[in-house]
Symmetry: C2
Subunit: 93 residues, 2 copies
DNA sequence: TTAACATTTAGCCTAAATGTTAAACGTATT
DNA sequence: AATACGTTTAACATTTAGGCTAAATGTTAA
């Protein structure tokens, strides 16, 4: 985990779009796949990248696997960006 | 430009470290290179990625080229992340 | 203008990322 | 248990990224 994994996961447009979709509520892998012009296998791998980065969580319900967003991990990335804007004499690492 | 280029540029640890270094003031390409275990040519390419993303600006002074950070472009990335955390019914796209 | 130095660009190589199809897996239904 | 359905995993092809060395470019100084 960590900043590296977070930013890497966010650097792909499909993965960002998936996160945007999940903002409105959880969706199954199939529902997510429907909205992209790539195969389910590709989306599945994108989902696993997002999951490894802890940007999404999954929970199975019967034969469906539902994905939901987890934004807590964005905190670190936002703090890092904010620190870049800040005065280096004042505060953080 | 745009979010894609910004996040792509930020997804590499060397490029992030370069930005952190530049927080404290501008540095020449050579000074930046000294601090990494890779060749000047590699750093030069990293600098061009950061520059294309408008995360840094350069200005030549004699035979040196000095780089400085430009944080304004981080705004968009931070806003995007913030929007992921927000209520989709309330506000933005 | 030649030499020296700082930096970038080009060409090549390897590794990582992304896409595809086909096979495997997990669950529900019959 | 067999089939069907949703999803993931494996194997492979292609593209992209990052590193290196060598050549090119820009600038200063002799």
């Amino acid at each position: 985990m960590g900043l590296q994994q977070t930013l890497k996961a966010l650097s792909d447009p499909i993965r960002r779009e998936i996160l945007s979709m999940l903002r409105k509520g959880s969706l199954s892998a199939g529902e997510i796949t429907e909205r992209f012009p790539v195969t389910g296998a590709s989306i599945s791998r994108h989902l696993s990248v997002l999951k490894d980065a802890d940007l999404i969580r999954d929970n199975r319900q019967g034969k469906y696997i539902f994905y939901e967003i987890n934004t807590s991990v964005l905190e670190e990335a936002m703090l890092w960006m904010a620190s870049l804007k800040g005065d280096p004499d004042n505060d953080q690492k």
